[in-house]
Symmetry: C2
Subunit: 272 residues, 2 copies
Amino acid sequence: MAERKVAITRATGGDGGDDDGRGRAGPHFVDLTARARIRDAALRLFAEQGFEATTIRGVAEAAGVSSGLVRHHFGAKEALREACDTYALERAMAIKEEAVVAGRLADPTFMVAVHPTLLLLQRYVARSMVDGSAAAAGLFDGMVAETERWIATGRLAGPGPDDDDDPRAFAAALVAMQTGLLILHDHVSRALGTDMLDVDGQVRLGRAVVDIHSRSLLSAEQAAQARAAYDEIQARWPARARGKEPAGAPDEQPPRARDEEPARARDEEHRQ
Amino acid sequence: MAERKVAITRATGGDGGDDDGRGRAGPHFVDLTARARIRDAALRLFAEQGFEATTIRGVAEAAGVSSGLVRHHFGAKEALREACDTYALERAMAIKEEAVVAGRLADPTFMVAVHPTLLLLQRYVARSMVDGSAAAAGLFDGMVAETERWIATGRLAGPGPDDDDDPRAFAAALVAMQTGLLILHDHVSRALGTDMLDVDGQVRLGRAVVDIHSRSLLSAEQAAQARAAYDEIQARWPARARGKEPAGAPDEQPPRARDEEPARARDEEHRQ
DNA sequence: CTGGCGGCTACACGTCTGTGTAGTAAGCTG
DNA sequence: CAGCTTACTACACAGACGTGTAGCCGCCAG
């Protein structure tokens, strides 16, 4: 495009400018095209406040431009969102690519350095899922599909992919859990006492997630009890419940069957 | 419109109309006080669309009343939210209490039957956390605190509470993950092919969560690698990083250190 | 019967939102 | 030079929102 000329003469430096306002995979410049600054501001505000709560005027102010310019560059608010979607995906892939091809994957310094950007992008995507962006929905599906594929490879540690397992549900739960961490950024950060996207918080949270997924929170008997309870429920609810037929007697005693994992969150919730 | 108000004043005239519009812990009536219907509609809409996106007029329409009546009963939108917060907590506690004192905890039929209500309440709370309700923030903190307490009891299965662990981060991550499932209701349901709050989806998801938490997704060496990577990062980032001091050499090789759990979500994300 | 009272509605007001339009300045092209 | 495009601004508009107000209609105490 031709915006470059004006932007350059306009003291935004020589950062070039199709639409990301910087060299391909180069580092961040402080001076960006106004369009890029708008997009960045929108991305951040969308991620922090959500789509609806973010106003075009707010984006304009954060980017240091007039609200009219936002419209001039992006037309409508929805188009601005789509631009953010595209950019988030593109930029995240670029970072990942650089990390891989440049062999910097093994360099923690690099990874941590780019993480603020990367995590913001992820946070944006996560928030978009809540706000109901079409792109985010596709992304969620893609993540579930890939996780499912990853499960199928059997690289998952532990007892192995179970007998009659439900990999789709497994994958969906995993993705939703992971995304939940980003969505609840503010609350998690408050609990941690640090921004979870800062290096410190990010490490603490990362360790916690590794801990959670590198041990089994439920004992074998606890898990068995829970599964038995689910069997019972399925048996009594004739719906299309994955090939079980209803049993007759409506009153038996599954051993205190709802005190396990899924119930924990419930308990705590009501406690407060 | 007009015929309804008559029916209501006639039918609900005796219940005092404090706020829930029914006998204390009684079953649901189809005919509720208008106030109760408004609150129920608001709860559902807040849970489904979020607070900002939900309009008073929308609530009124869903409840079958005029928008003015919403204001008449609740004054302001924020007060309506607070009423929902209070009610959600109260009702959830009531259900739980009934389940415990009536000994119906062991009756899966009951649990499943009340689950649609209970899960909607939970979903409301989860969504409130995203929308930034003060009550929800307190609830999150309470859940984290209780989970932390639960961890301290050592009832957690597996290798036991680790050496220098970070129970706060552990608890926060756990709570956020659990909550994420509710927040991403739509996406999870789409992945499942069923509403995750229906009996079928609820069972499938419950099984998946039990599976996730009753095995270790990461092998011992994977976990060790990840932890080593975090050590490395902490060592190089002198922040207030929990009592480690920076090391000198800026170039070593943590064995492909960022390919584990936390990276998985990232990978999939960019893939699509 | 009468008067007050609470549930309930209709309608109006100010604000904020996304959007539309007119206009200015600067640079490239001819 | 003129003519066009592009970045950018200021201002106006319609609609939707939360909120405010006046009033109707059954009920029930006196």
